[in-house]
């Protein structure tokens, strides 16, 4: 990994106790939100599909903690974690999952299309690779405006093989756009193992083909993700161009609730769970005295209460009325 992008070992250390507690709270929120979403899906209260982010919390939160509020984020079909990490409102998220008029999209989008444009969260996306052009275009807007914003493009290991990634990586490199492509390598794309589908075996190595940095970190470690993201985001903000950040992580649950899960064994899941990102951050914060065990438990209670509040809000919200069908198509 090139000097220019070495993480300042101090980056994470510089985080204030408040911001560290906030990061921990956000990771908890993602987990509790998606655990609850899975229950509601199984109970038949959520239609279509929902893709839990559980196990990957350190990636979304580690990266978004390194951002300014007006930085851009594009997301994937597995977008709940990115929305929460960017500061999204769990009430409007849960209302959207339940298809209510009070949801982020007024019930028109559902889980795969939640966006928070006020926070420059450019939306989950049902197309694998669909967010790549959006984030790259956002970075172009920032560059043309002379704004100091950076764009983050979250995508999965499976999306590594979409042609659009090749095209935008090349374009962002020659145009020196302020965008960081964050690969959430959770080892699988549905049933496809990343160690089979990704020729060459090294996602970060692909960045080097475009002459841009490719950094790989332990995606189960908040600090590692935050440090690397901080370095690459700072570099992009300085106008030094795009980079890849590859975060090795894992999805604890199936691809979605209906996943047969016949392609991996429990032992593998258990191995990864031993490195649980939330547990690790909790231990670190307790060690550092940023948080007492009691405070950590209390935080979890608060988060669970907030999730329940979101569910209650959603359930008490009306469904969209049919006269909304043909609105919002054209501006």
């Amino acid at each position: 990994m090139s000097l220019a992008t070495d993480p300042q070992p101090s980056a994470a250390a510089q985080l204030s106790p408040e911001r560290l507690r906030e990061a921990y709270r956000l990771m908890l929120a993602i987990r509790r939100f998606d655990e609850r979403a899975l229950e509601l899906y199984r109970a038949g209260e959520i239609r279509g599909t929902t893709h839990p982010y559980i196990g990957m919390e350190a990636v979304a939160v580690g990266v978004c903690s390194a951002l300014e509020p007006d930085d851009y984020v594009s997301s994937t079909h597995r977008g709940h974690g990115h929305t929460i990490a960017k500061g999204g409102d769990m009430r409007r998220m849960m209302a959207e999952l339940l298809g209510r008029a009070t949801g982020y999209c007024g019930g028109k989008g559902g889980s795969m299309h939640i966006a928070d444009m006020e926070r420059n969260m450019l939306g989950a996306n049902g197309i694998v690779g669909g967010g790549m052009g959006l984030a790259t275009g956002a970075a172009l807007t920032a560059k043309l405006r002379g704004a100091r914003q950076v764009a983050i493009c979250f995508f999965g290991d499976g999306a590594l093989n979409q042609g659009i990634l090749h095209e935008v990586s090349n374009l962002a490199a020659i145009w020196q756009l302020p965008v960081v492509y964050v690969c959430e390598n959770n080892q699988y794309a549905m049933s496809a193992r990343a160690d089979w589908s990704v020729a060459g075996g090294d996602p970060a190595g692909r960045a080097r083909a475009y002459g841009i940095p490719g950094v790989t970190v332990d995606g189960m470690d908040f600090f590692a993700v935050y440090d690397a993201a901080s370095a690459l985001v700072a570099r992009a903000r300085r106008g030094e161009g795009p980079a890849y950040l590859v975060c090795d992580t894992y999805r604890y649950h199936g691809h979605h609730a209906g996943d047969p899960l016949n392609y991996r064994d429990r032992a593998e899941v258990e191995r990864w769970r031993r490195h649980d990102p939330i547990e690790r951050l909790r231990r670190a914060l307790v060690e550092r005295g940023v948080l007492s065990a009691a405070e950590a438990d209390a935080l979890d209670q608060q988060v669970q209460a907030a999730v329940e509040d979101a569910v209650a809000f959603a359930k008490s919200s009306p469904e969209p009325s049919v006269d909304q069908l043909m609105t919002d198509i054209y501006a």
Binding site: G99, K108, H113, G130, G158, S191, S321, L325
Partner: protein, 346 residues
Amino acid sequence: MAVPTAPAAGAPSAGGTVRHLTYAEALNEALREEMRRDPSVFVMGEDVAVWGGGGVFGVTRGLVEEFGPERVRDTPISEEAIAAVAVGAALTGSRPVAEIMYVDFMGLAMDPIANQAAKLRYMFGGKARVPVVIRAQEGAGRGNAAQHSQSLEAWFCHIPGLKVVTPSTPYDAKGLLKAAIRDDNPVIFLEHKVLYGLRGPVPEGEYTVPLGVADVKREGRHVTVVGIHTMVHKALQAAEQLAAEGIELEVIDPRTLVPLDEETIVNSVRKTGRLIVSHEAYRNAGYGAEIVSRVVEAAFDYLDAPPQRVCARDVPVPYAAPLEQAALPQVADLVATARALVRKEL
């Protein structure tokens, strides 16, 4: 879902006993039989081999066990390559059956389909054959929202050189897929996600349903209803309801859109004098407009009322159930439109 419909009138009586299979099982059987019959047939696509033993909807289930990973090939997520490589394999003598998981993702694969598969034979002065089948499933009704619920058959129908198939029953699904695999031209084979679970009679063993032959599902004197996919079944339900009122619908499933069995449709309209075309695809520039135009061109003097289109509204498919249902054409819409036609209110 509608009750299983009977085999096509005059369908070749197949030797084997008739089982009640699902649409997905019928497709699976077609693939299995064709792969046994012809070693140049193979399957490729995302999650067609490993996932759940074969396919997100079970269409390729068990094939990798029988035919092995060389002929049942999981691919990375690369829709353009899936289509493009299948076309190249077909151009050189293979008979690939490539799967695009959702028709919505065809936007990534239109170049190899429309500029290569459809045109190579003609551009080369007839010196090439491209016997590729590209399967995908379309349709709404399951809350999959705007990027996983479209019906895009019109895109393919517009491109000369392609054939376009849209089975609505298990019987047709098996017979049409076998015919598509044996066809020497590129065939876009469009299934419907809501129909996978539909059961219907499927004879064991060998039979095909020829491309270009419509199926008159129900005869009637008053209104011809041409339905695609789920709309065939909804039309049959509408026919039941209207029968009570003495209004008879003649329900036609074209089964293939290219080639289109224009004769069967036109003859029906010559008899009924009224036409409804119904599909889940967007109404604007949908294939329904083509069918209406051809009927008007061929049977203008027989028309007692303006042909009507009962199609999806021109809106991205919404997620919430009430909105999604409102966006889709329903039995009630068919009933109301047919009634209005007969009562000369249109």
